[in-house]
């Protein structure tokens, strides 16, 4: 056998360009997409994180000075199901699902918020005029 002389034909080059284009497109989509927001829960016994778009539901029991606050995470929404606080306003606050939203049980020291994975929430809290 003789020395190798690789040679690409026209359609080989077309297929190569196609595959490269798909790879580059996916690279741009994947590596430049913004970080997805996530739920962050804080209490006396620790901190929890859950991606907002996580398919599996979760029930998290967060301890505080008054007892256990139960938080439900399901379908991209978070709500406080039960809490030992006297006025239960954290339960009445309903569900959160957007970046920047939060609910808290202040008597029990429990915080549930939606933040971007970069950390600090940069949205304006409120505006008044």
């Amino acid at each position: 056998m003789k020395t190798l002389k690789p040679r690409l034909r026209v359609l080989d080059l077309v297929l190569l360009c196609l595959c490269l284009a798909v790879t580059v497109f996916l690279s741009l989509r994947i590596y430049s997409s913004p970080e997805k927001p996530r739920f962050v829960l804080r209490g006396r016994n620790g901190r929890w994180v859950y991606p907002l778009d996580r398919a599996e539901s979760a029930l998290v029991e967060v301890e505080g000075p008054l007892g256990v606050t139960t938080v439900q995470l399901s379908g991209g929404r978070a709500r406080i199901l039960s809490s030992p606080c006297p006025n239960q306003s954290c339960i009445a606050a309903g569900a959160i699902h957007d970046s920047g939203q939060w609910i808290a049980c202040l008597p029990n020291g429990v915080f549930v918020g939606v933040e971007s994975s970069g950390g600090a929430n940069r949205d304006i809290d409120a505006a008044a005029w």
Partner: protein, 382 residues
Amino acid sequence: MRRPGSDPAQSKAQTPIVPYGRTEDTGVGLFGGLCLFLSAVDYLIPKPLPFMRLGLANLPLLIALFPRSAAGASEKPQTARMIFSFREYCLLLAVKVVGQALITGSLFSWVFLFSLAGTAGSAAVMYCLGVFRARCRVPLSLAGAGLCGAFISNAAQLVLARFLLLGESVRYLTPPFLGAGIVSGLALGLFAEAFCAQSAWVRKKSAEIATAERPRLSGRPDTRAALVFALGLFMTAVFLVIPSLAIKAALLALFFLAAIFRGKRVRPLFTLIVTALVTLVNLFPPFGKVLCELGPFTLAQGSLIAGIRKAVTLEGLFMLSSLMITPALRFPGAPGAYLGESFAVLARLNGRPPADQRRGKLSPLSLMRWLDETLLYNSKDA
């Protein structure tokens, strides 16, 4: 696997039973044996990550798609065929996937599913491109078929990894894996085209007038193989449904010890590396109770346990499979006969590896020469 030909006693001990009294190799058996041999060669080539493959075992699949030259002026383009017919090609795929699973002992593990998905996807694309080239006489070579085959193979395995093993974070691995597939597929396809252009065996085969398909082989039913296969499937199902991670980990340790006791080849370092990598990839995105934070990286309990569970399941299935499966496992019917024939070819090839490989200097040109000589030597028409 030891280097082929480096230990004659080992090679002799591994020689499988010649199936059913057949002494001649069909094209499927010959190419199947080549697939298995090249898979072992691929494994021996040093790579940055232990589970990466160059895809050398796909070389026979590419050569099988080389178009037959027209047998005289009367052959019409639309009847132009490739070296392998569709049936032979499908049998070759089955031999490659199942044969590799039998040799590595991964028949009941996720590794088999990945191999099946990758091979099926790439073979379908390569076959379509081969038919397109043979019938339409377009400017397309095996380089294009190889590159598309590798691309689709890696894409199929990434999709499977997303749902079985690595979760959402597999998307970050997608571009480099697809890029690696383009490079390796293109290189393999160029090699295959250059080989087919110069090969005496291919020249002889492609000039043959397409005849009726080769006689079908028949195999004896093997009750013991069926029982072993059924038991393996049952134990695999049981292992999969066990919810407790502690029990799964204990079973994995048990399978590991059993493998050592039975004299199976175990690779603890490889197992640890794979376990660590699978766990690491599953840490993103993090979920569950935060254990610690290191700059932008969060280590969470839920994702850590999920990663360990998947890694233990992967390794446990692999260990179980290697305990239950041996290359001597015989499947009934024609597929079993072709598999046995391929193992017989593999045993002969192990005794006659490329000369340059023994000297540690395997080059593309020397591999081409060895391949052509091997095909001519082992062809039943030689």
